[in-house]
Each structure stands twice: as C-alpha cells, then as structure tokens.
C-alpha cells in the first residue's frame, strides 16, 4: 500500500499519432494479459468461487466428510446467523475496525501530520521514522513487540506502576483494548503519510486569507483544511477499513482470539472454526460473509470516489 506516495504524477505518454497498426491486434493486446488473467482466475477467483460453493457443504477438516462433503444448501448460513458467537464476532469486528482504523489511525495520523508541520525538523524526522518503522516491520514482529508491551509483567504495567496504578492483565481482561491499541500503533503510519501528502497540497494562501479575515486555527482547520482534503480523507478511511477488516496475525499472536472468543474478529473466528473445531464448511461461510462485506466496501469506494483508471 505504499503506492499512495509513489504514484508518479507525470502526464500520460499517449495521445500522439502513430501507434502499431491494429493488425495482429489480438496477439499484441490480449496475449500479454493471458498470464495475469490465468493466475487471477486460478488463485483468486478460484478460492472465491470455492468459498461460495464450500460454504454450502458440510466439509470437515479430516475424516470421511473431508473428501466427500454433502451439499447442505444454506444450512451453514442459517446456523451462522442464528449463532450468538457469530454476532458477537461481527460486533467485535465492527469495534476493531471502527476504533482502531476509522477513529484511531485516522485521527492520530491526521494529528501527527498536522503537528509535524509546526515542529522542529529533526524531531519531526525522528518521530516520523519511528511511526513508519512500526508499519514497515513484519506484522509478526510487531505483534510480538506489542504482546510483550501489554503482558502482565510488561512495560505498560511497569509504567503505570510508577504512578501507583495496580497491575492489569491487559491481554486477558481487556483483549480488545490491547489489540485495538496495537493496530493503531502498527497502522497509523499509512494515514500519516496520506495526510502529509494531502496537507502539503493545500495552498497556504487560502488559509492565510482566512486568518486575515479573523478565522481562528480551529475554524481554519474545520472550515478550510478539512473540506479541501476530503477526498484524501475518504480514500484513506476506505483503505484503512479494508486493511483492518483482514487483520489476523496481530490478534492471533497477541490473544489467539481469546480468552474464549472475546477478541475473535471474523477472520480469526473463521480460522478457529475451520482449524480448531474442524468445521471447514462453517469457517468457509464466515470467510464468505467477511469477503462479501469487503466487496461491498470496495464497490462503495470505487463508485463513490471514482478513482481514475486512465
């Protein structure tokens, strides 16, 4: 997802006259696309199709039903929608995405981008570097670092101890709080980079003109800066939402979805159902629902923002 910063802005090269004549158009135009399309069909569309079909069977992980599943129609979905565990997981997913991506990463990313503009350059570079390192680090390493941070004997409790606050078993008593903070720590860099770029493109003259007219800094931010970068904000909200929807490793390493299912978001629940309880068909149904939610978000994003494809 680094491309936000990397996409070259230079003008398109096309638009001039001669180009290879259209004879052998198929060989020139379609043939180069074949490997890509083949890979996408087998390994991307394949699992999606398989997911739709598999969710309608009672596939098990091992044993007879693994090789010869029965077609059971919408039973998995009926069971799923009747299951309190599923709705709990839906709620946890909404909480996780809402608190860590929509609010946490966005607000903190915006704050960092704003504050950095007025801070001393070395400080800005150091803090920006730290935030980006947390994001570039492999997910599992970040997960271990945060696991240690929130452990009962970990750094957080030690720091709180200085202020006379008793030890809390964060990962057991407040697993959602821990994974939400962890995901903010891990993912804020993306929002920060997006907003850094967006704020740099707001012409300072407009804000200055408003200041001359007597607008305070708060007013200037909400009346001028925010409306001018609203496209970046909605793009960023959408992308962070979709990325956070698929987070598995962070939660799996820190809490394993536990205690019980108290931090099982949908991807974690799908994994647990399929590989812990051997209900592959049921797990597949959960995966399909998650995928459908992601697909709806993607379509809304593409429809609403109409990213340029040309």
């Amino acid at each position: 997802m680094v491309d936000v910063a990397l996409k070259p802005r230079a003008g398109r090269g096309r638009g001039t006259t001669t180009r290879p004549r259209a004879r052998r158009g198929f060989g020139r135009k379609v043939l180069p696309l074949v490997p890509a399309v083949a890979l996408l069909i087998v390994f991307l569309a394949g699992p999606i199709g398989y997911s739709l079909y598999g969710s309608l069977t009672n596939t098990a992980l091992t044993g007879y039903k693994a090789a010869n599943p029965d077609f059971i129609g919408f039973d998995n979905y009926t069971e799923l929608f009747a299951s309190p565990d599923f709705w709990k997981s839906v709620w946890l997913t909404v909480l996780f995405v809402g608190a860590s991506a929509v609010i946490g990463q966005n607000v903190l990313g915006m704050l960092l981008a704003l504050v950095s503009r007025s801070a001393a350059k070395p400080l800005r570079a150091v803090v920006g570097g730290l935030v980006v390192t947390a994001w570039v680090l492999p997910e599992i390493v970040a997960a271990f670092a945060l696991y240690a941070f929130f452990s009962t004997d970990g750094t957080l409790n030690a720091v709180l101890g200085w202020f006379g606050i008793d030890e809390t078993t964060w990962l057991i008593s407040f697993p959602m709080f821990a994974v939400i903070v962890a995901n903010i720590w891990r993912g804020t860099a993306f929002s920060m980079l997006v907003y850094n770029a967006a704020l740099a493109e707001v012409p300072p003259e407009i804000s200055e003109a408003a200041e001359i007219d007597g607008a305070g800094p708060v007013q200037r931010f909400f009346r001028i800066t925010l409306p001018m970068i609203r496209r970046s904000i909605s793009t960023n909200l959408m992308l962070t939402t979709l990325q956070t929807l698929g987070v598995f490793t962070l939660i799996w390493v820190m809490t394993g979805g536990g205690p019980g299912t108290n931090s099982s978001t949908l991807p974690v629940l799908a994994y647990q159902e399929a590989f812990k309880f051997s209900q592959v068909g049921y797990g597949t149904a959960i995966a399909t629902v998650t995928l459908a939610v992601g697909a709806i978000f993607s379509i809304v994003y593409i429809k609403a923002l109409k990213p340029e494809v040309d």
Binding site: M1, V2, D3, P8, A10, G11, R12, G13, T18, R19, K29, V30, P32, L33, P35, A36, L39, V42, F43, L44, P47, Y50, S51, L111, L112, L114, V115, A119, V126, L130, T133, A134, V136, L137, P138, V141, F144, A145, L146, Y147, A148, T155, P204, R220, L245, G246, F248, L266, P267, Y271, E273, A274, T284, A287, T290, L291, A295, S298, I302, V309
Partner: protein
Amino acid sequence: MSLVKNVTPAAEAVVAPTRRQRAALASPRRAPSRWISTAALVLIGVAFLVPLAWILLSAFDPAATVGIKIPEDATFDNFSSVFTVDQTLRPLWNSTVISLGTAVITVAVSVLAAYPLSRYQMRFRRSFLYGILFATCLPITAMMVPVYSLFVYLNLLDSVPGTIFFMAATSLPMAIWMTKNFMDSVPISLEEAAWVDGASAMRALVRIVLPLMRPGIAVVFIFVFTMAWGNFFVPFVLLYSPEHQPAAVAIFNFFGTYGSVAYGKLAAFSILYATPVLVLYLLVQKLSGGSFAMAGAVKG
C-alpha cells in the same frame, strides 16, 4: 486542534498595517502552541519507540523479559544461539525463496499485463482496470479457509511453488496497478520511433520501456517482496512441514515452544528477520525519488 498554523514570515509581511497589529496580538499565543505541538510529538514518539526499543534491547540481553530494561551485560549470545540451520538459517532461506519467487513472477506477469493496458485502446480496458482495483481492495486474509480447501483439492498443500503462485496472484492486482501507473509516465514518443524503425511491440517494451522504468519496476519488485517476506498467515495455513516454512512461521513456532523463557532469542531472531525489510524500505524511498526524473528521457 489549535496547532495548525502555517503563516510564513513572508505572508505576515504583506498583511496590511492595521491587520498587523492584530497579528502581533495573536503571536504570543503561538509560542505555547508550538510548545504544545512539540510536547505532543515527543509523547507520541515515545509511545511508538517503547515497543521497538524493547526488541532492540532484549536482543542483546541474555536475561530479557517482557518488560523493557537496559541489559546489565549486553552480549551477542542471543544472536549466536539462534544462528543455527534449523532455527534461523533455513527459515530465512525459505523466506528468501518464497519472496523472490513471488516477486519475480508478479513483476514479470504484471509488466506484460500493464503494457497493453497502458498503451492500447481496448474495449474491456476500463472494466479490466476497475476489476483490478476491486481485487486490490478485497481482504484476502479472510479467504484463507477456502484457499486451504482449494489447495487440498488441487493437492498443493505444503507445496512451496503452490504457495508462491498463490502469493503472486494475491499481489498481482496491486502490482499491475502500480506498474501501469509507472508505465504511463514513460513517454510513448520513444517507442513510436522504434515502431517506425520496424521494432515489434515486445521488442519496444524490452528495449525501450523497461530500461526507462527501471526504478518503477524496482519499487514494485521490492513492494511485492516485502509483502511476501512479512506474510505470516498464508504460509501458516498452506505450509505445514518445518523444512518448507519461512521465517514468519518459524518465529511463531519458536515463540510457541520457548516463548515464555527465551524473549532475548525471540527478539534476536526478530531483528535478523526484520532487517532486510527495513533496508529495502529505505531503498524504495531512494528509488521512488528517482522515478519522477524519468520524463527527462525525452528532450525537445
């Protein structure tokens, strides 16, 4: 959010005299606001530093715990004890094979696909690109359970090439998207000259377009490599024998086995595993700066 202020000295100079008084009245507020923004930045910086510092300090501390502390006697013991074939070398080698394989396949396939998408008018071009964009957004990790079933069906479970192809396919939408954007910024006029001289489209792609977009290709390559290197969930589900598992999975198993006793070794392993990615990120920063200069290939 009283921290926003981007009034430059030059802007203040053009303010009319009557207003200037007002600016002067407002300016004492600016000093504390700068102070607040510095304090906020330091606080956020410390919050981001602590977990990172824990990894670094623990790696050199033979008696590391989950709490952060300065090692009493810093040594390389943790590094030397994890530096064995089974523990780190083979998993890192597997990571290298999987990530390189994924990146090579992805880049080759996306360069081929991006060329007609960037250069020709086609009826299905727009819908294809929207499809690619849509696929870029899908939460692929949610799909690992059906992918597992599909791999059982295709008899590809625990197969490194199978995993590589799957990872290539999942990074393909993003890679095609990026490659096409980089290719768009290579001016077509150079190719037109080649076409006039009788070069085929493929020859023009290999001899003219690719050399001009080398930094862009490197960025896509490193991007895909990094994603594959850091991927835990896909190999965790698809590869089960230790001889095939990459470092991400090995590190997780190591944690599961010795987790509560060997935090120092875990941290040392983490550093060995994370360093290549951090280096590559810095490289991308350098390269993506260079890619903007490509337009300079055409003059006059």
